[in-house]
């Protein structure tokens, strides 16, 4: 059901773990839906994401999208990181099954949540960053909805 890339990032997640004394942390999702992602970032004085780590409670796609998201933002500036969309995460993973698309949204949201925390802690405003929702709901296919 998953692409090889997804399976690779799931079985061998990149940047999994914690950062001691991180610049910021963001946690999104909820246990009810079965997905929680937490992202730690270490951001230097130039606004470059020097290090990033994640922890995820969730399905294979949730783990893989978090892993890929960390890879995509690591070494980037805050502005660049903000441009990492769920689409980019999905493409980098060679796609996700339709029912798993919400995982990539959650990964995007986790980046935003961490950056929001950074902005709050430093009392700055990051252009284009909105307060992240802590909870992304499934984007069910119309068809499925019609049947239940």
């Amino acid at each position: 059901m998953y692409t090889q890339k997804v399976m690779d990032h799931f079985m061998n997640p990149r940047n999994m773990g914690e950062i001691e004394n991180p610049s910021c942390v963001g946690t999104v999702g909820n246990a009810k839906c079965g997905d929680i992602m937490r992202m730690y970032m270490d951001i230097d004085e130039n606004g470059i994401i020097r290090d990033v780590k994640f922890k995820t409670f969730g399905c294979g796609a949730a783990v893989a999208t978090s892993s890929m998201a960390t890879e995509l933002v690591k070494g980037k500036t805050i502005e660049e990181a903000l441009k990492v969309t769920n689409k980019a995460v999905m493409e980098a993973l060679d796609g996700l099954p339709p029912v798993k698309v919400h995982c990539s949204l959650l990964a995007e949201e986790a980046i935003h949540a961490a950056l929001w925390d950074y902005a709050e802690k430093h009392g700055i405003k990051i252009e284009g960053l909105k307060k992240p929702k802590s909870d992304i709901h499934e984007d069910e296919e119309e068809m499925d909805k019609a049947n239940y």
Binding site: Y2, M7, F10, M11, P13, M16, E18, T27, A31, K32, C33, G34, D35, I36, M37, R38, K55, T56, F57, G58, C59, G60, A62, V63, P97, V99, H102, E138, Y148
Partner: protein, 396 residues
């Protein structure tokens, strides 16, 4: 380790070679339509009726009370919809439980859309239906009680005889979904007061795509699938003769081997449960400790999510499930685990292992080791576990 370890026998089972053998002639040479007039077709009709009789004798009923369907799901749909329609004059109220299979629950939802009322009875923390609540729920307009024989996720066996008595006392029909129980437990429909019973061949080493509905003589429900006069006018459609023959063969073997087979399963099951519970912390067994199917084990591993566990087991050649197969892919945690009172995040971390008598202790040893490692790995990745450990340390 390249050989796969199949621990998902509640999802489906391998069709036995003897069953395949028994079916083959009815594809090739004996292909006559049982409803035709000529003698060639009488051979198909005979095979069909003999299959019916074999199955009936496993349930203590008459062959004329067995109606073949395309599986457990159709049998459940039939029992519920046709009963609701047939007894509409009496009332439009049905009683079921919160832990039924979707074949029952989604059919109830369909009936609700059509103006029927359904009461969903609670279960206790072991998954046993609350009988007092059940009896109180009966109204003058209640026409049917549908409670499953044994649950497909947590394996809990219901007090069927007591439910049968309550139904009889209040003059309400009683249907039971025995898809998981048939072949694993002894069932006598007369002793247990069952009016209708659903079963499916592929859960007992028969083929996928055939089941039956037992309808006690005297229960006046109509057909659900309308058309030709097959199955004594109650289930239209050209009969699946090969599968009926295969189903009967599977039942025959299941009955003959039941004692030995389930004893073996019990030993395997209890060994597995004991090791998992004692060797992996923050783990619970879901379902009743003893009133459970001999081949079912269902665990919740706190702080981790079921699908990722499943996939990692799959990478180690272990086939398992986190709920009923047909709901995998959905994001909602199992309605059964919620009904027994598990919080969402724990319900999400459940694993169902359903054994067959062909599994070995060696397979289980390997499986326990893999589960241990995998749970540990996933907990290390889990923000919930991180929070938990922090709170432990803070409280120290």
């Amino acid at each position: 380790m390249e050989k796969k370890i199949y621990l998902d026998n509640a999802a489906t089972t391998k069709t036995r070679p003897e069953v395949v053998e028994a079916m083959l002639p009815y594809f090739g040479e004996l292909y006559g339509n049982p409803s035709s007039v000529y003698e060639f077709s009488a051979l198909s009709k005979k095979a069909l009726d003999e299959s019916r009789a074999t199955i009936a004798s496993a349930l203590g009923c008459d062959g004329s009370e067995i109606y073949f369907t395309s599986g457990g799901t159709e049998a459940d749909n039939w029992a519920l919809i046709a009963t609701a329609e047939a007894y509409e004059q009496k009332g439009k109220h049905i009683i079921t439980s919160k832990i039924e299979h979707h074949a029952v629950l989604h059919t109830c939802e369909y009936l609700e859309k059509r103006g029927f009322e359904v009461t969903y009875i609670d279960v206790d923390e072991n998954g046993i239906v609350k009988l007092d609540q059940l009896e109180k729920a009966i109204r003058p307009t209640t026409t049917l009680i549908s409670i499953m024989f044994a649950n497909n996720e947590i394996g809990t066996i219901q007090p069927i005889k007591e439910i049968g008595e309550i139904a009889k006392k209040h003059n309400v029909l009683f249907h039971t979904d025995a898809v998981q129980a048939f072949g694993q437990l002894e069932i006598n429909v007369k002793d247990l007061g069952i009016d209708m019973l659903s079963a499916s061949a592929h859960k007992l080493n028969g083929p996928k795509g055939i089941g039956f509905l037992y309808i006690r003589k005297g229960v006046k429900i109509r057909s659900f699938i309308h058309g030709g006069a097959q199955e004594r006018g109650r289930r239209a459609g050209t009969e699946n003769v090969p599968y009926a023959v295969g189903f009967a063969k599977a039942v025959e073997i299941a009955v003959k081997t039941m004692k030995e087979r389930t004893e073996k399963e019990l030993q395997l099951r209890d060994y597995l449960i004991k090791r998992i519970l004692s060797e992996i912390p923050y783990t619970r067994l879901n379902g009743h400790r003893t009133k459970r199917l001999p081949n079912n084990a269902n665990f919740s591993f706190q702080f981790i999510e079921g699908e990722s566990l499943l996939i990692m087991l799959d990478m180690k050649n272990i086939c398992a499930s986190s709920g009923s197969a047909c709901t995998s892919g959905s994001l909602d945690p199992s309605h059964v685990l919620l009904a027994i009172g598990l919080p969402h995040e724990i319900a999400h971390g459940s694993l169902r292992l359903t054994l067959s008598h062909e599994n070995t202790f060696e397979e289980l040893d390997y499986t326990v080791e893999v589960i241990k490692e995998t749970v540990e790995k996933l907990r290390k990745m889990s923000p919930l576990y991180e929070d938990f450990v922090r709170s432990l340390n803070a409280n120290r």
